[in-house]
């Protein structure tokens, strides 16, 4: 087996294959970052809406709570197919990458909203009341008092979630998106040894997630109370 690796290696590590793996890596990273970035923004909106108490907003709260509870309970693979079968007839020609990214958005919005919500709720109620009696409006209270105090509760689990999602995007290979896992499969189908093919993919997944974990750890230290 070792001999096979030695003879195959120069063939495997050629320019064409490296570009191919590089593009697949970019798709994996792209789906994750775009998906989780959008998910973070909408997750924040949902978390804020859920903090409101106004009776006028209860229908909105009902909608967002149903959304979160629903999407947190379906497997990512199923979401991928639902999105595929909904978008395909409505907007034919949408790329598989686009469909997968939308799926990531849908799921990450639900999960990140819960992470952000628990962060917002970690700030003592008295801090919010104090802001109220100093005549802060809702947005000022959020931006100046609540968010600055909740980042260090939000960021570690949010980063862990995003790192986890780098790995979960491998499910998009089932749709035919040429991301890392699918690329590995294709290389093996071209006759390369699985150890080389998936070994390279494994290194790529590590190279994507490790720096992100370190970055999160760094942020966590920086945001810790003085």
């Amino acid at each position: 087996m070792f001999e096979r690796l030695v003879t195959e290696a120069p063939l495997f590590f050629n320019y064409h294959n490296m570009v191919f793996i590089g593009q697949a890596m970019a798709r994996t990273l792209g789906m994750t970052l775009i998906g989780c970035g959008v998910g973070f923004v909408f997750g924040m909106l949902i978390a804020v809406v859920r903090q409101t108490t106004s009776s006028l907003l209860w229908p909105v709260r009902l909608v967002v709570i149903s959304y979160v509870e629903f999407f947190r309970r379906i497997p990512f693979l199923v979401i991928l197919f639902i999105v595929l079968f909904v978008i395909e007839p409505l907007m034919p020609g949408t790329s598989l990458f686009g469909i997968a990214t939308v799926s990531v958005c849908l799921l990450s919005t639900a999960f990140l909203s819960e992470i952000i919500r628990s962060g917002l709720e970690s700030v003592p109620r008295a801090q919010v009341e104090t802001a109220q009696i100093l005549n802060f409006n809702v947005l000022q209270t959020l931006m100046m008092v609540v968010l600055p105090q909740s980042w260090r509760v939000i960021l570690p689990p949010a980063a862990a979630f995003i790192v986890m999602f780098i790995k979960d995007t491998s499910l998009a290979s089932q749709l035919g998106v040429i991301e890392l896992t699918f690329a590995g499969k294709m290389l093996i189908n071209r006759g390369f040894s699985p150890i080389l093919g998936f070994g390279a993919i494994l290194v790529c997944y590590f190279a994507l997630s490790y720096p992100l974990s370190r970055f999160a750890a760094y942020l966590e230290r920086r945001l810790a109370p003085s």
């Binding site: 801090q127 005549n135 802060f136 000022q140 100046m144 008092v145």
Partner: protein, 245 residues
Amino acid sequence: MHHLEIRNISSSYGKLEVLRDVTLSADKGEVVSLIGPSGSGKSTLLRVLIGLTPPTGGNVYIGGNKVDYNSRKSLKDLRGHMAIVFQQYNLFQNMNVLRNVTIAPVKIKKKPREEAEVRARGLLQKVGMEEKADAYPDELSGGQQQRVAIARALATSPEILLLDEVTSALDPERVKEVLDTIRSLTHEGITLIIVSHEMAFVREVSTRVAMMDQGKIVEVGPPEQIFRSPVESRTRDFVSKILSH
């Protein structure tokens, strides 16, 4: 009409009536203290006054104007005249001392930052905290945080200041520094409504004392009356228990 008029205020948490028909008034610059056992509604009355707990009945007038606790505009107006200091200080943990004191004047009242900082430093000096202007709340002792909280409340130039058991969470040694700070406010024309268990202090600084029990005001009078010759037997019970300690 008095500067602050509380008329027949009631409030309940669910079915539990916490305030029943509370009527009380204070003239400008007066120091009115609320005493009474735990759970008698003293702190709730302050929370109702500042609009954190909705009243279920009654009215509050400030300078002759009725406060509408359901209207955001009226609440905003009210909080321009009235400030509160809590038992747990509630300084913003993400801001240093100076910013805690300047944030409302700068961001809410749109005062120029420099002007607000000069004034904030003046107030911090007054409460003896000018040297800690750059410190964060978690670097300060409880007494120091409480004095900063008083400076923050004063920075909004309130006519009425509510003090909710401001020394209850402090070490005995720190109580004095906070009480000294409050004492220095009693001659500045600010109306003070004080909830406190520091009976000696209440007796010394108050112009009037209100005894509360089970959500009602039992007796109101000058400190000498309340502490020396209370009319109501409930007051007599409470005072004799407290003073015999």
